[in-house]
């Protein structure tokens, strides 16, 4: 079919009073800044961070260029695993707190991969 985009300016009967007010469909890629190189979309497996409002199946938009902040959720590499963890700072030492594991100090063995920037839930 390939329907043309509706602009409201080609009515056959009456001129649409909304003609000059028709807006484009909201562009989520734009809103979530998915076109920027530091933004990655990742899907959550498991319910570990439910207490932070992150459910299994959610899509997280993460930012690899964001400042690490204490108390924020991040994607991290811990001993070869990719995990969601809460990043915390205590007395100058940074810790990664995965939901199902003991806290790990941020060191050469671990890597903060990206900070969570936005969340998209498709099955509410």
């Amino acid at each position: 079919m390939g329907a043309a985009a509706y602009k409201g300016d080609e009515t056959t009967g009456f001129q649409s009073p909304a003609q000059d007010h028709v807006e484009a469909v909201p562009d989520l890629a734009e809103l979530l800044e998915l076109r920027r190189p530091q933004r990655y979309a990742v899907r959550v497996k498991g319910e570990g961070l439910r207490k932070r409002g992150i459910h299994g199946g959610d899509i997280l938009v993460v930012n690899t260029d964001a400042e690490p902040r204490s108390g924020k959720v991040c994607v991290a590499f811990v001993h070869g695993d990719v995990v969601l963890a809460v990043l915390t700072e205590r007395d100058g030492q940074w810790w990664l707190e995965p939901s199902n594991d003991t806290p790990h100090p941020v060191s050469d063995e671990t890597e903060v991969w990206a900070m969570i920037a936005a969340l998209v839930r498709t099955d509410v």
Binding site: R36, P37, Q38, T64, V82, E111
Partner: protein, 536 residues
């Protein structure tokens, strides 16, 4: 100055970006259908896995036991390449992708090594891809420096002569862009092994022995050598491009305009401006025969594509759009004209008009409280009005000419065997030429071929109507198939972009009646015997 940045073991690095279990292990990426190894991590290279090694032959070797082989995932690599490109575009005025993992950078305006190190870290942070940067006054040298960077600290600057000299002493010649395996063997036979030897063949004797390399290859190698050995100052300055990329927009609304001066004039003026302001023209958009009056160039023409690319942020800023004047950009009704104009400015484009040497940028528009914006609006309004008036006038003029066609002929243009009488009231014969036309038609009717007619005319020394190269079958064909000899000239008007025949035929009728040619018979004969046929 050029830079070449490339992702180290790019496909493997892309896989590693998302999979920490691959770090520190020998990893290879296989080609389509898992055939050959096409990317190898440093660990895999150390094990001796060759580029292109057929994996199902060698995977059972005991030393390859721990190798992790990944199928290729081009969607991922393409996306990562985009991310690298975009990070680079935020830092350099011009980024030129050379392959999926290599991009040339325009380093003219940047403090080189430190800046490149910073950018390299940014790329690593954002895309997780490790990279190396080579810097050089030519692309060949930048590529060579990039090879050197892999062995050194990640960034090598070959614009520095000492660095270059030191590196050249040990680099093998096959690292040079343009020297392949075949040439390498030949050059090795001549005793040339290092880049240093290649760049400066010391003795005349050596130079002579180069001649054993085939001519074509010699030229190619010579070029490669010039690019490597750029000590001459002229060479260097020629290879340094200006800083800011620019697009030239040229619109010609009719063929007559395009064919003549307008196009050339606009191009020259743009080039002059670019030279004066150190802009590099990266693209020239020519919208031929698209009218800006109706706005077609925005919907159909290539300016529309350019505006969309600006909106999609597909064009790295800063970017300059050069056009002759605002009316070149647009002659639509001013309100419609404003939207694309604002779109371009808002997208970060600097718009330059050559006629009045104005620069429009987002910043400059705000400077004087919108006064300049008002000025541009007035310009556009004037352009639209002019167009409307011109369009009206031209149409009226031709109407009048057609009405008077029987009295005054429209134009001097007519078939070669006619000419316009001095009072412009009618066409008359050029007698000797009319005879030739009659002859051609008669011969054809008798079944003589076009080639034979041309040959006979040439043999008889008959001068052609045009040019100096004698008669040719194609011209005879044109004459025979043209309606002009029958006296038909069909004027057209343009309606809604289509050619529509005007109400009446004009022009040559009386002249044709006099010519009295038998076109019907002629073409009949042509059709019946399409092959070669001589007169009986």
């Amino acid at each position: 100055m050029f830079g070449l940045i490339d992702g180290s073991n790019f496909y493997v690095s892309c896989e590693r970006a998302f999979n920490p279990t691959l770090n520190g292990k020998p990893v290879i990426v296989l080609s389509n259908n898992d055939g050959c190894a096409i990317a190898r991590s440093a660990e895999a290279k150390a094990l001796g896995i060759k580029m292109g090694e057929v994996w199902h032959f060698s995977k059972r070797k005991p030393e390859y036991r721990d190798v992790i082989a990944k199928s290729s995932n081009y969607a991922l690599y393409g996306d990562m390449s985009r991310r690298v490109f975009e990070v680079l575009s935020d830092h350099f005025a011009r980024v030129e992708p050379y392959s999926i993992d290599e991009m040339f950078l325009d380093l003219t305006a940047f403090a080189r090594v430190d800046y490149c190190r910073r950018v390299r870290e940014r790329v690593r942070q954002i895309t997780k891809i490790p990279t190396c940067v080579g810097i050089g006054p030519t692309k060949t040298l930048a590529k060579l420096a990039n090879k050197h960077a892999k062995m050194a600290t990640g960034v090598s600057d070959f614009s520095d002569i000492d660095t270059r000299r030191e590196a050249f002493a040990t680099m093998p010649i096959d690292e040079i862009w343009g020297v392949g395996r075949a040439n390498q063997t030949k050059l090795n036979d001549l005793g040339i092994f290092t880049v240093e030897q290649f760049a400066k063949p010391r003795a005349q004797r050596q130079r002579r022995s180069w001649k054993s390399v085939r001519k074509k290859e010699f030229n190619r190698l010579h070029l490669a050598r010039t690019m490597v050995d750029c000590h001459r100052p002229g060479m260097v300055s020629q290879t340094i491009p200006p800083t800011i990329p620019a697009t030239v927009y040229i619109r010609s609304s009719s063929e007559a305009q395009t064919g003549r001066d307008s196009l050339r004039r606009q191009l020259e003026a743009a080039q002059r401006y670019a030279d004066e302001h150190r802009l590099l023209i990266v693209e020239t958009i020519i919208d031929e025969a698209v009218s800006a009056f109706s706005g077609h160039h925005l919907t159909k023409g290539r300016l529309g594509q350019f505006i969309r690319r600006v909106e999609d942020r597909a064009i790295a800023m800063p970017h300059v759009l050069i056009c002759e004047s605002l009316d070149r950009l647009n002659r639509q009704a001013p309100l419609d004209a404003l939207a694309p104009f604002i779109g371009l400015i808002n997208g970060g484009v600097t718009l330059v008009t050559l006629a009045d040497r104005q620069r429009f940028t987002r910043e400059s528009m705000g400077e004087d409280g919108g006064l300049r914006l008002l000025g541009s609006l007035i310009d556009m309004f004037r352009a639209h009005e002019e167009s409307a008036i011109k369009s009206q006038r031209v149409r009226a003029a031709w109407e009048r000419k057609r009405r008077e066609a029987d009295v005054r002929k429209l134009t001097k243009t007519c078939p070669a065997w006619l000419r316009l009488t001095p009072d412009r009231s009618r066409f008359e014969f050029v007698n000797e030429r009319a005879d030739i036309v009659r002859l051609i038609f008669n011969e054809t009717a008798l079944g003589v071929g076009k080639g034979s007619i041309a040959a006979r005319l040439n043999d008889a020394g008959v001068p052609p109507f045009r040019g100096k190269n004698g008669w040719h079958a194609t011209y005879i064909q044109k004459l025979l198939s043209s309606d002009a000899a029958l006296g038909i000239y069909q004027p057209h008007t343009m309606e809604g972009g289509r050619r529509v025949p005007a109400s009446h035929l004009l022009g040559l009728t009386e002249a044709a009646a006099e010519l009295d040619v038998v076109r019907g018979q002629g073409s009949l004969a042509l059709r019946r015997f399409p092959g070669r046929r001589r007169a009986p």
